[in-house]
Amino acid sequence: MSVLSFLRRRPVPEGGRRVLVPFTGGDLDPVVLDAAIRVARAEEATLVPAYLIVMPLEYRLDAPLRHEVEVAMPLLEAVEHAALRAGLPVDARVETGRTPTHALQRLWEAERFDRIVVPAPAGRSHGFTPKELQWILVHAPAETVILRPDPTLSEGLRLARTLDAA
């Protein structure tokens, strides 16, 4: 697993640190989840898994999207369960935006995060693109770690392992 890190030093906030793990498109790589859990545990932080929903332009940003939600909810439950099993406090989120980065921006405009752990693409058909990662590095309001998922895992296996981890 290669690790790119982009550090922006910010003072340690009061009220506990918060580690954001945004994901989109129907899966979160177990390697990334595991790393995020370890980072949060080392920092005694709350893990904030956030599922980003891309809202088509013809809908309001807060419109209910049944299909997306049906994918997001079990996945969020699984991620939350994995974090809780590791003894971490969890504060899960669902955020919408016109693009994944728009959703991210809306999320971090509304809430404070001290570290962001982002999965990089690994030949996937969805998730963050290299361009989006570049945007995140430029605009993220906190230290950002980009993790490359295991390239040998197929999408189905990756999802299965994420759910297994829970």
Binding site: D62, L84, R85, G87, D91, A92
Partner: protein, 362 residues
């Protein structure tokens, strides 16, 4: 002033005869000596429609220029000033030109209704917001102009204007919907038989559900409302664990085919801290995405407030997180859950475990 009566004529596709029916009903109302105007009519270059509009007063439209085009929109102020008893307004899902009073025509109609004017309007099912994905999957066409489902819910009457796919295709071939050259293209694309059959099924189901939803409360109000179906009331607090309560409530609602209300009972005079405000905003966002109605009610006592709200909303099922109560308070003051069971008779109560505590103990 009483709000106007809202009647929506809904169809599966253009050309089934919604506008024709609207104008026909306008004439009937006029014959009954009601004051009727056409607020907005989309003639679609259909001679039959234009002919039927004759004899009905038309409120002049607003003209506006947009990108080199001259557009015409309903003049809401003029219709309200004219104050008819009934206004006919075509195509409620239409998006107005920039600079108009509202972005969407259904918002204009809302102003007419608020002014006490009865409205008959028309719409095709593919514009319904919740069906947008389904329509795209069925027809491959992404409909840009949508309207919220609540518009149908709030209308006094929703009437289906139906035509079989074969009849509609016949109307197209005869040039009664579009000019013949355009009709040929339409028949090979959106108006294929399979598309029309699927759209017809959707609109029939939609209207049937609407009829069912209207029939039940009317027949059973007020005492038997609970027998109709489940309605979940999820009790939340501005805390991370409430996210899970909402997700659990949503999952159960899928199985029960139930509506969900999320309720935060705010103690009298309590102002949320910055942290609580953040949590509340996140819960509201989740509620919106899950289609949950978010309620914030001030109350001195949680259980009595829940009892009142549950009665008002017709709740049948309460979802509550594990209360953060001290053992001492439980012993001396009685546990919150015991009180809920005792004071909310007839309501199922489900306690959502705090997984964090479970993991701590393992």
């Amino acid at each position: 002033m009483d709000r106007g009566h809202y009647r929506i004529l809904v169809g599966m596709a253009p050309g089934v005869g919604k506008t024709y029916r609207m104008l026909h009903e306008g004439h009937q109302a006029k014959e009954q000596r009601r004051d009727v105007v056409i607020g907005y009519l989309e003639p679609h270059d259909r001679p039959e429609t234009a002919a039927l509009a004759e004899g009905l007063e038309v409120v002049p439209r607003l003209r506006t220029a947009h990108g080199g085009l001259e557009l015409e929109e309903m003049n809401v102020d003029a219709v309200i000033a004219r104050a008819p008893q009934l206004a006919l307004v075509d195509e409620l899902a239409h998006t107005n030109a920039t600079g108009m009073r509202h972005e969407k025509r259904y918002q204009d109609i809302d102003d007419l209704l608020a002014a006490g004017i009865d409205v008959i309007s028309t719409v095709n099912v593919q514009h319904l917001e919740s069906l947008n994905d389904a329509i795209f999957e069925l027809t491959g066409v992404r409909v840009r102009e949508t309207f919220p489902d609540r518009i149908l819910d709030q209308a006094d009457e929703v009437v289906l204007v139906d035509l079989s796919p074969e009849e509609l295709q016949e109307r197209l071939r005869a040039g009664k919907v579009y000019p013949r050259a355009r009709a040929k293209v339409a028949l090979e694309n959106f108006f294929q038989h399979e598309n029309l059959a699927a759209l017809r099924e959707l609109v029939l189901r939609e209207v049937a559900e609407d009829v069912e939803a209207r029939r039940q409360p009317a027949a059973l109000e007020p005492f038997s409302k609970q027998a109709v179906g489940e309605r979940i009331l999820a009790l939340i607090e501005p805390q991370p664990k409430s996210q899970r309560i909402l997700r659990r409530a949503w999952r159960s609602a899928q199985r029960l085919n139930a509506e969900i209300d999320a309720l935060w009972v705010r103690s009298n005079g309590h102002q949320p801290s910055e942290e609580e405000a953040t949590q509340l905003a996140a819960l509201q966002r989740l509620a919106s995405i899950l289609g949950i109605h978010f309620l914030e009610v001030e109350g001195a006592d949680l259980v009595s407030t829940v009892r009142r709200v549950a009665g008002e909303r017709g709740s049948t099922y309460i979802f509550v997180g594990t209360p953060d109560e001290s053992r001492r308070r439980e012993i001396f003051g009685g546990s919150l859950l015991s009180r809920m069971v005792r004071e909310l008779p007839g309501l199922d109560i489900r306690v959502i475990a705090d997984r964090a505590k479970r993991e701590e103990e393992q």
